[in-house]
Amino acid sequence: MKGKKFREYLVYGKIKNSVRKHCLNCGAIITFEGVVRGDKVGNSRVKKIKYESYEQMAEKEIDKIRREAIEKFKLHDAVIKHRIGEVKVGETALFVAVLSEHRKEGFKAIDYIVDEVKKKVPIWKKEILENKQSRWKEND
């Protein structure tokens, strides 16, 4: 998902209103934002990250993770959005929101979803440094 559309998901109002109207037994709305860090690399620093995806497969995997999380943690709903393209330090690259009856399963679900996204969704990041060099980065 590209920048402009992605930013719309960072507005939680829509989600909250929908919960109040349709989910009277939802006691928790938990959101997570994965933000680009300005890590030090040698004598330089990360300026931005360029994310690339295998779009059709990524959408399929995200949908699968979402459905599994809803089932596993008895969520009312979940939203998972990953931004593609260039994302500057301090900006959000991954947005996750879960709606659950109680907070505990909600927090567990957030953790599960982020781990699964990092493991299974075909997305790759290239770090662009302040000294204009770049490198493909693997998850730890």
Binding site: Y54, M57, V121, P122, W124, K126, N139
Partner: protein, 76 residues
């Protein structure tokens, strides 16, 4: 059939897709790729067929399958 390349592999091969013909199985595809692009031998990657990662080397591949070479993923 079309083989898509992503991430680091795209930079190494210098293109985002290659056309291959007459290959019957994943093992044939690997043999072809390693011969044509020996630099791939030092790379870690998975292969997907129609958006599913495949592990069986003797899996048959068909002309209209969409195949992709996926380096270790690094989203999030």
């Amino acid at each position: 059939m079309r083989v898509l390349l992503f991430g680091k592999l795209k930079d190494i091969i210098g293109t985002n897709s290659i056309e291959v013909r007459g290959l019957k199985r994943i093992s044939d595809l690997k043999e072809f790729l390693f011969q044509k692009f020996p630099e791939l031998k030092n790379q870690t990657f998975s292969i997907s067929v129609n958006f599913e990662i495949v592990l069986e080397e003797d899996l048959e591949i068909k002309e209209n399958d969409e195949i992709a070479l996926l380096p270790p993923i690094s989203g999030g």
